[in-house]
């Protein structure tokens, strides 16, 4: 069944669409020097036009800002920041959340109770506020932004993994593994982890979608990079000042980039969830 055309399966279209969007932005980030028509801080309009944002034109399909920077190029260059922050934070959150969830769920007991309490308290905080709080303490940088996001998303991975482990523990499979005489660490690594992996993928999709929005929030407040470095959230912040003057292109295009990238991950996560729901019945 795995060999079957991915599109024909439930959720297949969503996964394909999601992956395409994600790969598109990743490619954009990697190939920015080749793809971007201008540098991120290159004054790309004649001197006399600088000082005022210029609307989209054939040379500047997304327009330019008041400093004469090309909006399209800044979105291409800016993708590097988002992709780095989100990828790094996903790796960090998984590296912390997944092992803790596995151990907590498998062994139970007081350690599980304490960990769950801590994770639930963090989870109860609004993500964006928590991220801003942590980032303000750490100061603006890509690495620090990733750490702030990690703090927000570790509980998500932890809770989902732990819940799935508890579900597995109630199955006859676990009795069979125990009576087969397998040691605990082996059961966790060779049996529980592979069975939890699909869930981790789904959480990765959905948490990353959310993380992109949170990241945009952080950069909006200048907590990721400092202007004039290219960054979607930051461009949104400076672009908003020109909204009343009618320069819509300064906010629309960065905004679209943020939401479409987030939508890519959301589609991936949701699609995978549907695919697995089907798998259980086939």
């Amino acid at each position: 069944m795995a060999k079957q055309a991915i599109l024909a399966r439930p959720g297949g279209l969503m996964v394909t669409a999601g992956l395409s969007i994600i790969l598109f932005y990743v490619a954009l980030a990697v190939l920015a020097p080749i793809l971007a028509p201008y540098g991120p801080t290159e004054v790309s309009v004649p001197k006399e036009l600088a000082g005022r944002p210029q609307p989209p034109s054939p040379e500047h399909p997304f327009g330019t800002n008041e400093l004469g920077y090309d909006v399209l190029s800044r979105i291409v260059w800016g993708s590097r920041v988002v992709v780095q922050v989100v990828a790094l934070s996903a790796v960090l959150s998984m590296a912390v959340g997944v092992p803790l969830g596995l151990v907590s769920g498998y062994y139970g007991g007081p350690v599980d109770r304490v960990l769950s309490l801590v994770m639930d308290s963090v989870y109860a905080f609004p993500g964006i506020l928590l991220a801003i709080a942590v980032a303000s303490v750490l100061g603006p940088s890509v690495g620090n932004a990733a750490i702030s996001l990690m703090v927000v998303y570790v509980p998500t991975y932890f809770r989902m993994v732990r819940a799935r482990v508890l579900e597995l523990k109630a199955r006859p499979l676990m009795e069979s593994l125990w009576t087969a005489g397998l040691p605990d660490h082996w059961i966790i690594l060779k049996h529980i982890l592979p069975n939890v992996a699909p869930t981790i993928l789904v959480v990765f999709g959905l948490a990353s979608a959310d993380a992109i929005l949170t990241e945009a929030g952080l950069s909006f407040f200048g907590l990721v990079v400092v202007y004039p470095e290219a960054d979607w959230g930051l461009d949104l912040y400076y672009g908003k000042n020109w909204l009343l003057s009618g320069a819509w292109w300064l906010t629309l295009f960065p905004g679209l980039a943020i939401t479409s990238f987030a939508a890519g991950f959301a589609l991936l996560g949701e699609g995978l969830a549907r695919m697995m729901g089907e798998e259980r019945w086939s």
């Binding site: 009795e175 069979s176 125990w178 009576t179 087969a180 005489g181 397998l182 082996w186 069975n195």
Partner: protein, 339 residues
């Protein structure tokens, strides 16, 4: 005979927390007495079947024997070791995991869906120190071949979903047998298997028994138990109500419950006893009737049965039962009138 397994007065109670307060305080409001004073012995190379309906406690008994549950009271002596008191780690350290194997009802649920079945046998061999590396792989292939999964190299790589139900149960048995256990506890090993394939699965266990492995089968199917086992123990609401040689229990029972059970089983025979008129169902383990626990359903019950719990009667030849009005020999053919 030197017994391999001796269970004595085993009790497994599940706490019930009837209110939120009781749960917070950790004080159960009641107990479900799933296994309530069971004694049973199994000799080497012997096949004993525990027969009972849902709610009889037979699966709880099996789980206690393989160390998945801590008994509330009583002892389980396995080759002289009281396994009822051992911690999970001690089970492994003393090599008991290898010596007592469990075969579960649904192999799709008891095998890991993500791992090739051969690997699942191999890891069990390695974890129990039976073999390592290439040797373990070779033994796993042998085990697959022994249960008729051929070609073994091809079967080794398959995942459980790529096998049929019967083949999956063969894998589960192959894993158990590969460890050369002294005792196999089989919990309804064929109830999920198609009728036409059941005998082939049971024959694998029978082959192991002939090589000296003891088998404890848990089943609701007394006809199958009768054919394959040396002895049968009939459980009702947590107690063994009758136990003895397979033929005597299944064909000439003393306890009215056994009589109801054996006459309810559909049969193709032209000469068979009339069905015993037993109404109602097994009550909940929370509300075990006083006196003889079968009295509310028993067609032979008298006021005495309500008042005192029947003691165990032991016949010559080892058959035992708990009943105040046991059936005479051949009594199963003369059911009491209904009403």
């Amino acid at each position: 005979m030197h017994q391999l397994l001796t269970i004595e007065d085993l009790k497994v109670y599940y706490p019930v927390y009837g209110s939120i307060a009781s749960r917070i305080l950790g004080k159960p409001t009641a107990y479900v007495k799933a296994v309530d004073g069971v004694s049973l012995a199994i000799g080497r190379g012997e096949w004993v079947s525990v027969v009972g309906e849902s709610g009889s406690g037979k699966t709880t008994l099996a789980k206690a024997i393989v160390g998945l549950l801590k008994p509330t009271a009583g002892t389980i002596l396995f080759d002289g070791i009281d396994v009822a008191r051992l911690s999970r780690r001690d089970w492994r350290r003393r090599g008991l995991r290898r010596r007592i194997q469990l075969v579960q009802q649904d192999p799709l649920e008891s095998l890991d869906p993500m791992m090739p079945v051969g690997e699942q046998i191999r890891e069990a061999l390695e974890a129990n120190g039976v073999a390592r590396g290439g040797e373990a792989r070779r033994k796993a292939l042998e085990a697959l071949e022994d249960v008729g999964l051929t070609p073994p190299e091809e079967m080794y790589k398959r995942r459980p979903r790529q096998l049929s139900g019967g083949q999956r149960q063969r894998v589960a048995i192959a894993r158990a047998l590969a460890l050369e256990p002294d005792l196999i506890v089989a919990d309804e090993p064929v109830s999920m298997i198609d009728v036409s394939l059941r005998a082939s699965i049971l024959d694998l266990l029978d082959k192991a028994r002939r090589r000296g492995t003891s088998v404890l089968m848990i089943t609701h199917d007394i006809a199958t138990a009768w054919i394959y086992s040396d002895r049968i123990a009939v459980m009702y609401l947590g107690k063994i109500v009758e136990e003895g040689s397979s033929n005597s229990v299944a064909r000439d029972p003393r306890h009215p419950y056994t009589a109801a059970l054996v006459t309810s089983v559909p049969s193709l025979a032209s000469r068979k006893p009339p069905k015993w008129p037993v109404e109602g169902e097994v009550p909940s383990g929370l509300r075990i009737p006083g006196g003889c626990r079968f009295h509310p359903r028993c067609p032979l019950a008298t006021s005495e049965c309500k008042e005192r719990e029947p003691a165990e009667t032991v016949e010559n030849g080892g058959r035992r039962y708990r009943c105040i009005h046991p059936l005479p020999p051949g009594g199963v053919w003369k059911p009491p009138r209904r009403g």
